[in-house]
């Protein structure tokens, strides 16, 4: 039998149903795996006791015939989701000691459906980053890093901001994990770790109880090892929530049923503007390969144009910091988290925020404050929102001639910690293929498609029409099968 930690969610559900093992056994195996991955600094908070009691309850439900669609599946939670009674840090010093009195809607739905929480995993501070290196709790190292744990030849990044989520499933220490994606924070780490990640359509998953970064862009989604598992987990995460004013009230399909493998006649858009400068030759070749796979399966590739692609990053780096500067105003040392005293209230605010926020977060708050300040609002913020409209129009136009769009997930294989980091603009280029999708509010996913010459994973991205996650998943599974990605990281638990 396959080791319990190497099962897919679908496989684990099958084994549980057939009584080949219990949820407690499955969870115990994962709790040991969580301990084994400690050198990679993936978990901020481990919750083994809660996991085992949730697993026990799951076995009881199954015995009574009331098991839910994810019953007994051990997962990790990005430490951006509020979890009742369990520390929630957003990777920031400023949330020291914060234990929410409430549970985020998305995680409460996962527990409702029977999932088991292994703990809270690392991220870039407040989800601002592409490498999971900026958290107060330290950097996460990818299990793809060559060399023995702790004595790596190169410390490869897991991507970000959902790098802990990506690393934990790649290392076989959880069957899935929640992520959030504001500019690529699910898809880019999935691409960097050979895993699957979906950013659903804006409004699909409730944002309630998720620490906010940029509210008009933030969206939660599943990260798993297979497309089928992503379909299973996505179904539990989605759904209308009156507590989120941007949550969309529409039925949640059985995404797994969409995985028919039949994509005959489907038109796959290939955006010519994504052939950017700096795109590595091996990514370009993989992209061509992806087109060929879909063609073999009966789909029809069509060239599409997204003329404002090159402006997406610039618009993003105004809109996201602007929203962040407003969202992060709440961290003031009064109601939760860190407080650094000062002579008066204003000094207390400034001292708390100066000590509590890391450098990248401060940089983005300052940019956001500047672009929203009197005299600059029109020139920067409104201009960026107009460009955002044009980017959305580009996609509307493109989807008149295609049903789904295929692109690379990131312009290169993952870099090593310490490389590329001096220049913030250079760092932002990691997100060049993923950011436009958040600006347009569309669903997109990354599917592992191959390895680079350096032995590190490469992903392909699929972009869908609003609320058409089903086509996305169907095509994603065709790519997954054709790529037959079976590589495992040098370290697995």
């Amino acid at each position: 039998m396959t080791a319990l930690t190497h099962l897919t969610m679908a496989g684990a559900l099958d084994g549980l149903a057939k009584k080949e093992f219990t949820a407690v056994e499955l969870t115990e195996a994962h709790v040991r795996a969580v301990e084994a991955v400690r050198p990679f600094n993936i978990f901020i908070t481990e919750t083994p006791d809660a996991a085992l009691s949730m697993a026990k309850a799951s076995d009881e439900r199954r015995a009574q015939g009331t098991a839910g669609p994810m019953d007994g599946l051990p997962i990790a939670v990005k430490d951006l989701f509020c979890t009742k009674g369990v520390a929630t840090t957003a990777g920031s010093h400023i949330l020291d000691g914060f234990k929410p009195e409430y549970e985020s809607t998305v995680t409460s739905q996962l527990w409702r459906d029977g999932a088991v929480m292994l703990g809270k995993v690392n991220l870039d501070e407040f989800a601002m980053g592409s490498a999971t290196i900026t958290a107060h709790q330290g950097e996460t190292v990818s299990p793809w890093s060559p060399g023995a744990p702790g004595a790596w030849e190169r410390k490869i990044v897991a991507g970000g901001s959902s790098g802990g989520s990506a690393a934990v499933i790649a290392a076989r220490a959880a069957l899935g994990a929640t992520g959030t994606d504001t500019g690529g924070s699910i898809r880019q780490p999935a691409g960097y770790t050979g895993t699957v990640g979906i950013k659903p359509t804006y409004g699909r998953c409730s944002r309630w109880g998720i620490v906010a970064y940029a509210s008009s862009l933030d969206q939660a989604g599943p990260m798993t090892r297979t497309v089928e598992d992503a379909a299973i987990m996505l179904r539990s995460m989605c759904g209308f929530d009156p507590k989120d004013s941007t949550s969309v009230d529409m039925p949640v399909p059985d995404f797994r049923a969409a995985l028919t493998g039949d994509i005959r006649g489907l038109r796959v858009g290939i955006p010519k503007e994504y052939r950017v400068e700096g795109l590595s030759a091996e990514i370009a070749a993989l992209w061509e390969q992806g087109i060929a796979w879909l063609k073999e399966a009966g789909a029809e590739p069509v060239e599409v144009s997204l003329p404002h692609t090159k402006y997406a990053l610039a618009a993003y780096y105004i809109i996201a910091p602007a929203e962040a500067s407003s969202n992060l105003a709440r961290y003031d040392g009064v109601r939760y988290g860190l407080r650094v005293e000062g002579g008066n209230l204003k000094e207390m605010y400034e001292n708390t925020r100066g000590a509590g926020f890391g450098k990248e977060v401060q940089r983005r708050i300052l940019i956001g404050t500047y672009v929203l300040s009197a005299g600059y609002y029109d020139a920067y913020y409104n201009k960026a929102r107009q460009v955002r409209t044009r980017i959305k129009w580009d996609f509307d136009e493109a989807f008149k001639s295609c049903d789904v769009i295929l692109t690379p997930t990131a312009p290169s294989t993952p870099f090593a910690i310490g490389e590329k980091m001096d220049d913030p603009v250079q760092m932002y280029l990691n997100d060049v293929f993923t950011v436009p999708i958040n600006l347009a509010g569309l669903p997109a996913m990354s599917v592992p498609a191959g390895l680079g010459a350096d032995g590190l994973p490469l992903g392909l991205q699929l972009i869908g029409r609003p609320f058409d996650e089903e086509t996305l998943l169907r095509v994603g599974q065709v790519v997954e099968k054709a790529a037959n990605f079976s590589a495992v990281p040098p370290f697995v638990a």
């Binding site: 610039a314 780096y317 605010y349 404050t369 107009q386 959305k392 913030p424």
Partner: protein, 95 residues
Amino acid sequence: MSLDKATVAKIAHLARIKVPDEELESLAGELSQILTFVEQLNEVDTKDVPPMTSVAAQKLRRRKDEVTDGGYAAQVLSNGPETAEGFFVVPKVVE
């Protein structure tokens, strides 16, 4: 666009973030770099283009103006760094 130290100090004050004087210079450089990068947006023709307010094709939902929640002050206060008698405590505001 290039920001000077004084402007950075002013933004930091508006954002209520204490930035040590010795860091203002390098921060000014980093922020200027980002502002220069975003200047390319001026190449885009946005005449008569509405600024996006909602990415989803729906109007902001309204709810009835009624109390549906509350009555647990102790939980609200439970994470406060300093609380007393049902209140959050802050340094004196009025001199």
